[in-house]
């Protein structure tokens, strides 16, 4: 009798343990690490190394600078931190390609890997208006997001919550733009314009 009690007791304990393992333990053990980097390149505990983009000394290209930013669990939050750092005034002699006073209103990420970056109107009102400068503004933002968050393939810039044709009359913002390192110094992606399909030499 006493022995039976022991068996029943052991079975009950095993059942309770099994239930605990199934309902509590397993989910707990198999919870993924809080998105270790949201795709960030390098991590160092609480910090991540990211690349931000500023105007070169000669004004003719963007240059990438490494910055340590606080690591965030949620990709959208990480994107926000990166963008706020990119929008902030950099220490001299770095020159920001984004007009002073531009603030991040919001950033949205989609499952397709698109990011929508909503900026305040200073990004257009404070702009010098040159097409090269506009390319720098747009691609500093696009590249800051896509380079540091590889899960994001393309970025569409919004101004005051609305889609815009362009910031100041040149670069088409009617669609998400992919990472483009053409205007970034010493980057291996820098390439000559794609070859043309013409066989004939120029006649003059």
């Amino acid at each position: 009798m006493k022995r039976e009690y022991w068996i029943y007791g052991a079975l009950a304990a095993a059942a309770v343990l099994g239930a605990w393992v199934l309902l509590v333990g397993l989910p707990r053990w198999y919870v993924p690490e809080p998105a270790p980097s949201a795709g960030t390149a390098a991590t160092d505990g609480e910090f991540v190394e990211v690349t931000l983009f500023y105007i070169s000394d000669d004004g003719m290209q963007l240059v990438g600078f490494e910055r340590r930013l606080k690591r965030q669990a949620a990709p959208a939050e990480q994107a926000r931190i990166i963008l706020e750092a990119q929008l902030a005034e950099p220490p001299a002699p770095l020159l920001s390609p984004i007009p002073t006073g531009t603030q991040l209103r919001a950033v949205y990420l989609t499952e397709r890997g698109d990011a929508f970056v909503d900026l305040t109107e200073e990004v257009t009102l404070g702009h010098s208006g040159g097409s090269l400068e506009e390319l720098f503004t747009v691609y500093a933002i696009v590249n800051a997001v896509t380079t540091n968050l590889p899960a994001i393939q393309a970025v569409q810039i919004l101004v005051n919550g609305r889609e815009v044709d362009t910031l100041v009359g040149h670069v088409d913002l009617q669609r998400p733009l992919e990472r483009n390192m053409l205007w970034v110094a010493d980057h291996e992606d820098v390439a000559a314009p794609r070859p043309t399909s013409f066989g004939r030499e120029t006649s003059s």
Binding site: I55, M60, S128, D165, G169, R175, R194
Partner: protein, 537 residues
Amino acid sequence: MSDTYIPIGTMTRRLALAACLLLVAPGSGRSQTPDAPLTLISSAGRRLLPAVAFDGRRMIDLRELAAPFGLTIADAQQPGRLTVSRGEQVIVLTADEGLVSVAGRLVSLPSPPLERAGIWYVPLDFIGRALALVHDQSVELRRRSGLVVVGDIRVPQVVARYQRTGPQARLRLMITPATEHVIELEPDRLVITFESDALDLVLPDIAPDDLVTGLRSAGTRPALTVDLGAAFGAYTATNEPAIGGGGELVLDLRPTEATSTRVVPPAAPPPPEAGADADLPALSELAPPRTIRAIAIDPGHGGDDTGTRGPNGTLEKEVTLDVARRLRNAIESQLGLRIVLTRTADATVALDERAAIANNNRADLFISLHTNASLRESATGAEVFYLSLDEYDEEAHTASVFTGQPIPVVGGGSRVLDIVPWELAQLRHVDQSARWAEIVADELGLRLPMSPRGLQQAPFRVLVGANMPAVLVEMGFISNPDQEAQLTSTTFQAAIVNGLLRSIVRYRDDVAGGVPAPGQAAAVPAERSDAPQGQRP
């Protein structure tokens, strides 16, 4: 103290008096200066009509019009009002009032009639707008040449353009409507006589050179005289039909063999636009094209959108319009192509509308003009862009769904059409755009400082919808003070225009396979000592 008060008080009174006079002045004291007279041409012959200018506005004494137009000017019945009659028809004028009653109809004049000491002056447009309504023959005012043409007489308009290109020269005459003419070569001149009653001749101011020393009207004959310089050897005449029933006579003038082989310095200081002529394409390249007929020029920005601004205040929208106008004139006069400007004034035009204007006018090439800016003052140089494909690849892949769409047509049935979505219009032309952009960068590079990356691709909105090869040219950095000064200078703008002109010629030859255009040219060699000889081309 009192010594100082009195003069100031006196001065104040004088100033007040002067101010009163100034206030009274507009009614009575507008400056009146004699102006170039008009020429009235009718079946009765020619007659001069003296004109005067009030504050720059060209007016005519109404009494001068009375005799030639058979007008009766009534004595003033009410002050400030005048009645003019022709037979039963009556015109009522009111001083300083832009509306005139003409045979019961109200006609608006660009400026009001003026009454000065009992004499009435009317703006020149009074002739075409008011007199024409009460006259029994046609009355036409041609402001450009200062002609008033009355009745059914033939007065073709002849607009001359003279272009010196190295040792050769080209004289183009745009004749509207097309009119028969005879060219006679005399020892020192070419005389082109038109079969008409008179000529409405619009002549440019040319600097005399060794081929042509002047262009002038041949007195009362309906003829144009081209005074020839010492180096003139022979000419070629070509007749071509022009748009709108007009005709075009092109005279290519060549030096004698002896002078053509050596470099002849210009006989006179070059005209202000000389920079524009320095390196023009050779005449053989200026023949009408086979494949390129129209070019859309897009002066960047405009209206509220000023574009970039230089450190000395130069605005991008002004530079782009300046260069666009120069380019238009150069292409029209030297290549004879139709030009479509996406804006002709300081107006706001949306980016997609610019491409639409080019598409709707069936332009064969699209060129958007801009000036660049950088936060770094040191940035300089021109850049040529064409559309990058990467941003649009996804749409390009799915674009096949748009081909072969059956579209219902009026009257029933349907037609199968390929529909090109706006976003994809340029994609079909990107290879050609790349080819042209390469040539543009090459030609500009020969004449202007280029940025380290003179040829680039970018997703520029204005290029997206252009349904033709399209490029965007950043002519220089307006943010650099030196380049700002260059961008506004005639020489620099002329260099840009020449580079673009040359790129069009090269691209055209490229796509047309370098086939020379059909011409009806007939060379007419001539010795300077020859007796006068006439040629009917």
